[in-house]
Symmetry: C2
Subunit: 336 residues, 2 copies
Amino acid sequence: MSADTNNAPDSAAQAAKAILARLYTPILTELKQVEEMYRTELSSDDPYIANLLEYIEDYSGKKLRPALLLLAGKACGTVGRDHIILGVVAEMLHTATLVHDDILDDALLRRKRASINALAGNEVSVLLGDHIFSHAFEISLECTTPVGAREFSRAMARTCFGEIMQVHNRNNFELSEAKYFEIIEGKTAELYATSAMLGAHYSGADEKTCRAFYDYGMNLGRAFQIMDDLLDLLGEESLVGKTLGSDVEKGKPTLPLIHHLTHVNEAGRAQALKAAAEGKRAELMELLHQTGSFKYAAARANAFVSAAKKGLDVLPGGDMRDLLYEVAEFVLSREL
Amino acid sequence: MSADTNNAPDSAAQAAKAILARLYTPILTELKQVEEMYRTELSSDDPYIANLLEYIEDYSGKKLRPALLLLAGKACGTVGRDHIILGVVAEMLHTATLVHDDILDDALLRRKRASINALAGNEVSVLLGDHIFSHAFEISLECTTPVGAREFSRAMARTCFGEIMQVHNRNNFELSEAKYFEIIEGKTAELYATSAMLGAHYSGADEKTCRAFYDYGMNLGRAFQIMDDLLDLLGEESLVGKTLGSDVEKGKPTLPLIHHLTHVNEAGRAQALKAAAEGKRAELMELLHQTGSFKYAAARANAFVSAAKKGLDVLPGGDMRDLLYEVAEFVLSREL
């Protein structure tokens, strides 16, 4: 780590931004349209509500979900108004979950600004999230067919189930890897999968191709969440721009920890859980290193990215497929 | 009040139930179908989630919204599968708002049982409400046309805005009557209006009739909320089966209070607000009686019920219209 650690996060973030800017090149115009429509749709005649909606525009960050939807569309044919609408829907649904997540996490910061619940309280956050959900469903019906509305509402219902299971398994350090994956497939990967699939669908892709894109997004989402787990353990607060009470401190079993706990004996388990309970981060990190648990998690993320790429065999070779390979690889490069 | 006050609430509730049972006669079969589908749709493979969903089935009470939808449908023609689906959607959306309302209110009881947030915590309540919203939208798309999905998502977006405005105006005892109505039309009446309108629409009613039913539901909703305000001030905890911290104590300006505050001088305002702030309920009640504020609110509720009935002139006379008159009047009889 360089002596000038304060600058490191910014330059890492800038590097990521630069990569994304390049990856988004084929969909630049469309992404701009998504951003414009997103802004227009998050508005109200009531000055107080208008102000809140304006504030949370900043919740929208890398726009990975709309980008995935647009890139999948581009790879399969022509991108049209349905893609723009559903790009907005994907981003709004994601924003609504962030607004509600902040209540769950009691987060004070979001993207280095006060979170909406810190600003306006939990009640308003619940209701604002509800409004954004409802309005997202409303505009999804502006598409030429109801497929997008149907798939996104199904996806969101599953996302919530994944999140509930996560809350229910807090402090459950017996959590199996299988259940861990059930949770992250719901809470994180489903929305990526559905975005990618709908992008293909609305460009007229056949069912097999749509399914391939669904799997692509699902694998990307799995890899993304595992990297998030790693980031939470290995990263720094200043790096990720939100209050980072570590997952472990919050009793959230992550993949490296689950791996570790299933690869030590009783005494080893007790030692790790004690270190976690007492917030002895350095000790816990050392233990996880010893069982190769970070390496294991990184390897799993890698494997999901490979599977994501492999699934795209269904596409003809060319620039767009190469670019989707790079998008998958980008997930692994996340500011670690 | 009778000496045997403990029995009074139950008999009042039973009387209301008996009236509703009679009013629901023409739609008994369909309402049963709604109930069955509602139960089927609120399920999960995960045992923990299945248990939560089963628990909140009890949140569904009088089924006023699906009943309104079915009765409107019956009044305009034949009731079919679309009505059943949308009846379920109306009830699920209402349930989701109740689940989230309990977080906002910090309610410990709902229908005399522990509320879901008391049972499973705020986090699970937020997510469970989100799931029910999403799933309601999902099944609304099973209708033969997307009109129901579109109207209910629009209605929910407005409902949330109404609720946000209410939170924002807490402790704002300068609230105008106009803003009060804007709030209750959103948070309460919109879902009634949309339910009634969709019932008519899916029975093939023309636009004018659909609009009349929308207005009917809106007026019913306004009256319903005003009666709720009155109930909160004049009722008793045991009567309504939920933790009843009075609206006034929570800083929620209700119609009788707004009326009172605009019909006294500065000293009168100060006196009323002091009584409210100090929780001197008896004194406050006496003050409101002096300005005829309860009478005023009751008269407004009455006028909305009359307007609701008048709007049904668009229908041919007959049993169904008479029954819809009675439904409107029922709102005024609520367990006061």
